[in-house]
Symmetry: C2
Subunit: 469 residues, 2 copies
């Protein structure tokens, strides 16, 4: 990396500045050049970085000095209490999956894949190529770059059986990540106070987006086979809901993969009730043992709103996803996106399209499968050996995580804190429930760094599970 | 650009495919290589692109063929009418500023700067550098990259007079464009049904974001000096509003720049009413004749929520902005952003920070000033010569547009359509009014391509203004 030595100098000087009085003279560029064995250009870059961060100031002809920190006076924000009132919904703390742990912890909580699982070379090359095109300096259309829309549409069309009219490129709306899609779909198609059926447990991000949109959640129990058809039928009947949010493929957190028949049956129920099925196909590229087919591929008349993200399979930095929706639903979602964010960076779109249209992308997906399988199986074996009381209902055929049932009465919050204090970060399963948790669970991911430390992590989890019973 | 010849081959074949029957044989790679004088690698890349777009399919050993288009059957989306109900707000058509005109039209409607006004080389180099760092493969923290937060904070701190406690880096929340900030601020700090004071006329994007958040707009007339203080006082008193959305610097559309005193007076009124001032400093980098100081620099206790975007000055593709907010307001906005989009691509953040911390960035800003001035003055002179009935109240000291008052009774919609049919795209001023327009206006921008065609455009506008009286 080009900037390594600059970064090193900046880091060292920041540490030095933190303990130096304002006005202290910073070592001269010549001294720094000598001390770090770096070129004058590198040292100058470091000094510019520190200046623009407001940490030092240079007096021409005199030298560079630690900037006098303004004395921060405590400010009274009490007036805001009346201005804001009580919060309307439970949009408060960050879910545990979003926390950044200390660098030496074993991170089993994060849903973002480790570098070895990403097509790193492809991504870097695609960004560098996009930097040379118009995508670096122009605005994207609101609905997205037409070729990327076409790519998402052709992927669904390829999965559609004969006789089904697949969505067109125009039906595809490009998003800056699928979380934005959830927010817009819940706002535009459900609306405040209206009922939304949702699996329980399910993705905490969907629960969060629903809270933001002020929709009323109607939980439908869902296990390793997906939801019970009678439960779904009854929930639609009782509430008059017009939408059901589902993850039929490697559901987060349970890992459930619905059978094709189950998918068709649920679609048929939604159809009879004049309702949308919001299919979140978050792990489409993360299959291990099976070949997933989206329910959307069987949809003929716009009942399925299909969410498909590249964030986890291409790169968390190329934050690109798509919502495919037909008819008036498409127009409502597009209008909401325009009001919310106007458009998605065309640079990210161009780079993502470049990655997924390279032949090496298919090769990468094939290479990742055995890596994911090995990680999953190692974590399962480690837990079996060291944490036998943490029960796994289902070995997931894809996705990135295991959903562990703990003994009845386990204090999950205490368990999570205890593991964290011993350097093992796991996620509290409670966050995946739209209402109370039906039983104590934790979620552990096999996509983070250092899979070689899984046995060590499992030992800690096992000991703390015993202690928390 | 590396992909030019690939793109050319793809384009030509797409045109050919569009008029060819399904199953038609695509010329062989050898023929294409010869015909285009291109390398086999280039031709193979083109064929891969067409395959991944679903336009052709290859049968190994036989050849490549135009893919049988599925027969699109018209689908009945009537069931969605009941599912969706009537739309809750006026989030419908796209505002005229977002439309993409035909390539030979003179585009005076768009708010995005032409390439010559952007630091193109800096942007491309910054993206290429970011592609080699961790920013290309990792997730950003929810609030943004700490160094970019620090840069935005130091910019405000530098403008703050002595004795004022400036916001810290933690108070800065990085956004994917300021539109997202408007949405979150209106949702998180005002809320559905609650009053929001807003200048009239003002930025249509703010009106759109307010409609999405279902807040109740309270228009306050605002002219070339900003709003009248008594009007502001009265509006706060009558409605009990807790927020006022303002553009004190080169307001869009009027070009108004408030005096420092006016800014302090309005801040004082907001303070007395326990309310937020949402300061949208959209044109901070686009000054021509004056040196703007944000009201936020004078704010000591979190009354100003400060929005600052790099989209228009760095690149529309590096969609990065910041909302600076203190106290509980910051937490509310952050929680809304987390629910809405989780995080902003770190790649865009790293590249934007790289651009604005280069010494060449300052040079670029100095270079752009005379270009903007020349464009502005040429457009003003052209309109004075050819469209004397279109009256300009104020020569804006910065920003990208002119706000033209038309003769009473002008049918603006008809005028805009008539200009468009003659290849000149102007924006209908009606979209900038939160309620009815107080008078007929159009907005014309001097930031688009081909400033040499301003006289031609002004002639068309002048003729059509006469015709529409």
């Amino acid at each position: 990396m080009a900037n390594d030595s600059t970064d090193r100098i900046v880091d060292e000087l920041r540490r030095w500045i933190a303990v130096s009085p304002p006005g202290a003279r910073v070592p001269s560029n010549r001294e720094l050049t000598a001390r770090h064995g770096a070129s004058p250009v590198t040292v100058q870059k470091a000094m510019r970085a520190l200046t623009s961060l407001g940490l030092v100031e240079s007096r021409p002809g005199v030298g560079t000095f630690v900037r006098a920190a303004r004395t921060p006076r405590p400010v009274d924000y009490g007036w805001q209490t009346a201005a804001l009132g009580a919060p309307p919904s439970r949009l408060t703390a960050l879910p545990s999956a979003q926390r950044t742990p200390s660098p030496d912890a074993i991170a089993l909580h994060t849903g973002y894949p480790d570098r070895e699982l990403l097509p790193e070379r492809l991504v870097r090359a695609a960004i560098a190529r996009a930097a040379r095109t118009d995508a670096a300096t122009t605005r994207s259309p609101v609905a997205g770059l037409p070729d990327l829309q076409a790519w998402f549409a052709s992927e669904l069309a390829d999965a559609a059986p004969a006789g089904i009219t697949p969505p067109s490129a125009r039906d595809v709306l490009i998003l800056a990540g699928s979380q934005s899609g959830l927010s817009s779909i819940f706002r535009a198609l459900v609306g405040p106070g209206q009922p939304l059926l949702i699996e329980s447990p399910t993705y905490w991000g969907a629960i969060l987006a629903a809270a933001q949109a002020n929709v009323t959640l109607v939980p439908v129990a869902s296990g390793v086979d997906g939801p019970d058809l009678e439960d779904v039928e009854r929930a639609f009947e009782l509430t008059g809901a017009r939408a059901f949010y589902v993850q039929p493929t490697y559901a987060n957190p349970t890992g459930a993969q619905w059978t094709v028949q189950r998918g068709r049956d649920v679609l048929e129920i939604a159809r009879r009730h004049g309702a949308y099925l919001v299919e979140d196909d978050w792990a489409h590229d993360l299959s291990i043992d099976t070949q997933p087919t989206p329910i959307a591929a069987h949809d003929d008349d716009g009942h399925v709103i299909y969410l498909r993200s590249l964030t986890k399979s291409v790169s968390p930095a190329l934050r690109v996803a798509a919502a495919t929706a037909r008819g008036p639903a498409r127009d409502r979602i597009l209008a909401d996106r325009a009001a919310e964010s106007m458009y998605v960076s065309g640079l990210l779109q161009a780079a993502a399209l470049d990655v997924v249209t390279q032949p090496a992308w298919r090769t990468h997906l094939r290479t990742v499968k055995p890596l994911l399988r090995a990680r999953r199986d190692l974590l399962i074996a480690s837990l079996r050996d060291h944490a036998p009381a943490a029960h796994l209902d289902l070995i997931p055929a894809g996705g990135l995580n295991l959903w562990l049932r703990l003994p009845d009465g386990t204090d999950v919050e205490r368990l999570v804190r205890a593991c964290e204090s011993r350097g093992v970060i796991v996620a509290d399963g409670t966050e995946w429930f739209p209402a109370e948790a039906s039983a104590p669970h934790i979620r552990v991911n096999y996509s983070g760094p250092s899979p070689d430390r899984y046995p060590e992590a499992a030992r800690v989890i096992g000991e703390e599970v015993e202690r928390a019973r």
